[in-house]
C-alpha cells in the first residue's frame, strides 16, 4: 500500500478546485494546496484577516508585515486583489460566498461533523479563530487529514469524541489513503491509494463505507 505524502494529498485536493473558485485554505496542511493549484486556472484565495486574491510568499527581504495571511505569515496580493475589514471578510464566509474551504481535522464523523479546534484536554488553552465560520459557511467543506492517528486509530469516526467545530458540515474528506464523500446515508469511497483494498480500508476506518458507483468514480478522475 502506497500512502499519499502530504504534497500528494495537497495535489489531489487541488484537482477538485475548478477555475473561478473562491477558496479559503485553512492553517497547516491545507496551506500546501496553494502550491498545487494549476497555473492555468484563475482561483481566488481568500484569507479571513481581510484579503482576496492572495499571492505566494514574498521574496526574502521584501516581506511587509502589514500584508499577512491568517497564519500571520507575510504574503503578497495578486493584481486585482482587494483588502477589506473583518466583518466583510466573515460575511464572505458565513454568507455562503466562498465556494470551497479546505480544513485540517482531528476527527470527522460519518455524518460529516467536524472536530478541529480543541482537544478538550483540561490543561489545553482553547483557541478557535475562524474555524467555526468556515465550517458552516463555505458552499463545500473539504477536509484534508491523515487517515489514522499516530496510534493507528481512525480519524474518521462514528461520533466525534473531540469538541465539535461544526455539525454535519463536511462534504468531502481527502486522506493519505482515500477520498470519501459524506453522503446523506453515510460515507462513499471515491478513490483509494494503489494497493489498498476496499475491505482493508473499511477495517482501518472502522465505520461503514460504501463504494461509489463506477460512473461516480469516473467523474472524479
Amino acid at each position: 500500500m502506497q500512502r499519499y505524502t502530504r504534497d500528494q494529498m495537497a495535489a489531489r485536493v487541488a484537482r477538485d478546485i475548478p477555475e473561478g473558485a473562491y477558496v479559503n485554505l485553512g492553517i497547516g496542511l491545507p496551506t500546501l494546496v496553494a502550491n498545487h493549484l494549476p497555473k492555468d486556472r484563475e482561483i481566488f484565495l481568500h484569507s479571513e484577516n481581510g484579503l482576496l486574491a492572495m499571492g505566494p510568499a514574498p521574496a526574502p527581504g521584501s516581506e511587509d508585515f502589514d500584508l499577512i495571511n491568517a497564519g500571520k505569515q507575510p504574503v503578497t496580493l495578486l493584481p486585482g486583489g482587494a483588502y477589506f475589514h473583518h466583518a466583510d471578510s466573515f460575511a464572505m464566509m458565513r454568507g455562503g460566498h466562498l465556494d470551497f474551504c479546505v480544513l485540517g481535522a482531528f476527527q470527522v464523523s460519518a455524518r460529516g461533523d467536524l472536530a478541529n479546534w480543541h482537544t478538550g484536554a483540561p490543561d489545553a488553552i482553547p483557541a478557535v479563530g475562524g474555524a467555526m465560520d468556515l465550517a458552516i459557511g463555505a458552499k463545500k467543506v473539504y477536509v484534508m487529514m491523515e487517515h489514522l492517528t499516530k496510534q493507528g486509530e481512525s480519524k474518521i469516526v462514528e461520533r466525534c469524541t473531540y469538541p465539535l467545530t461544526g455539525v454535519r458540515c463536511v462534504n468531502r474528506i481527502f486522506t493519505d489513503l482515500a477520498v470519501l464523500d459524506v453522503a446523506a446515508d453515510g460515507l462513499v469511497v471515491l478513490e483509494m491509494v494503489d494497493g489498498l483494498s476496499f475491505d482493508e480500508l473499511t477495517r482501518l476506518t472502522g465505520v461503514p463505507l460504501r463504494r461509489a458507483a463506477p460512473a461516480q468514480r469516473e467523474r472524479q478522475s
Binding site: 484569507s47 479571513e48 484577516n49 481581510g50 484579503l51 516581506e63 511587509d64 508585515f65 502589514d66 500584508l67 499577512i68 497564519g71 500571520k72 505569515q73 507575510p74 496580493l77 483588502y83 477589506f84 475589514h85 473583518h86 466583518a87 471578510s89 466573515f90 464566509m93 458565513r94 480543541h118 490543561d123 488553552i125 482553547p126 483557541a127 478557535v128 479563530g129 475562524g130 474555524a131 467555526m132 465560520d133 458552516i136 459557511g137 469538541p163 465539535l164 467545530t165 461544526g166 455539525v167
Partner: protein, 231 residues
C-alpha cells in the same frame, strides 16, 4: 474649527478609567496600535476588559499590557499562539478571564454594536461548546445561535492616514478590526502614520468616515511596530 488630532498618545488615552472596556485593533501584530497600548500601560488604568482577536504576542504591545495584570478579562477568538506565553501563564494561574468567541461572531458582535443592532442569530458555533447555554432558533430549516453585541468605552486603532475630522484610510491587512471597532466604541482613538489636510483623502476611498472617530494621534513612522516572526 473641529480638530480631532491630539498632540500625544499620552493625552489621547488620559481619561481611560479603571474598569473600562477597551477594544484593541490588530490581527497578531498587523494593525496593532502599539504606541497607544504603551501609553495606556503608562497611564495605569486597571481592571480593564480588553477585546482583541488574539491575546498578545511575545512581550510587547498587548502582551505587555496583560503582563501588568491590569486586564481582568479578555474577549478574543485565538489566544493560543506560539508566542502567547504572557497570556498562557496568566490564564493557567487563573489571573485572567477568557471569553472565547468564534472569529466571525467576534467581528459581527462588534459590528452589531456599532450599527445599533440589539442581537442577531448566527449559524456559526451551533451545536458546539461555544454555543452552550445560548438561545437557539431554527429559521428556514437552519439552526442559529443568538449572539449579543459587544460595546466598548474606547477603541484603540491603528490606521495609515487621517485628516483632522477623523476620516481614515488603512494599510493592507492592517485594516482588519479597525473600522468596526471604531464604530462600536464610545470613543475611538486612532494612531496614524500621517495626517493630511482636509480633502487630502480621496472621498471615494475613505474607509472609516470621521463620524466614528473621536481622537487621532500621529505616531512617527520610525516608531511603528517592528515586524516580528509569525506566530
Amino acid at each position: 474649527m473641529i480638530n480631532k488630532i491630539v498632540p500625544s498618545v499620552a493625552e489621547a488615552v488620559a481619561d481611560i478609567r479603571d474598569g473600562a472596556t477597551v477594544m484593541i485593533g490588530g490581527f497578531g501584530t498587523a494593525g496593532l496600535p502599539s504606541e497607544l497600548i504603551d501609553a495606556l500601560i503608562a497611564q495605569g488604568a486597571r481592571n480593564l476588559t480588553v477585546v482583541n482577536n488574539n491575546a498578545g504576542n511575545a512581550d510587547t504591545g498587548l502582551a505587555a499590557l496583560l503582563k501588568t495584570k491590569r486586564v481582568r478579562k479578555i474577549i478574543c477568538s485565538f489566544p493560543r499562539q506560539t508566542d502567547s506565553w504572557v497570556f498562557d501563564a496568566l490564564y493557567r494561574a487563573g489571573e485572567i478571564e477568557l471569553e472565547l468567541v468564534p472569529q466571525g461572531n467576534l467581528a459581527e458582535r462588534i459590528r452589531a454594536a456599532g450599527a445599533g443592532i440589539g442581537a442577531f442569530f448566527t449559524p456559526t458555533g451551533y451545536g458546539t461548546l461555544l454555543a452552550e447555554g445560548k438561545e437557539t432558533r431554527e429559521i428556514g430549516g437552519r439552526h442559529y445561535v443568538l449572539e449579543y453585541p459587544i460595546h466598548a468605552d474606547y477603541a484603540l486603532i491603528k490606521a495609515d492616514r487621517a485628516d483632522r475630522w477623523g476620516n481614515l484610510v488603512y494599510r493592507k491587512t492592517a485594516r482588519n478590526f479597525g473600522p468596526i471597532m471604531a464604530s462600536a466604541a464610545k470613543c475611538a482613538i486612532v494612531q496614524v502614520r500621517e495626517t493630511v489636510d482636509l480633502g487630502g483623502l480621496d472621498p471615494e476611498a475613505i474607509v472609516t468616515p470621521g463620524i466614528f472617530v473621536q481622537r487621532v494621534v500621529r505616531v512617527a513612522a520610525g516608531a511603528l511596530a517592528e515586524p516580528r516572526a509569525a506566530a
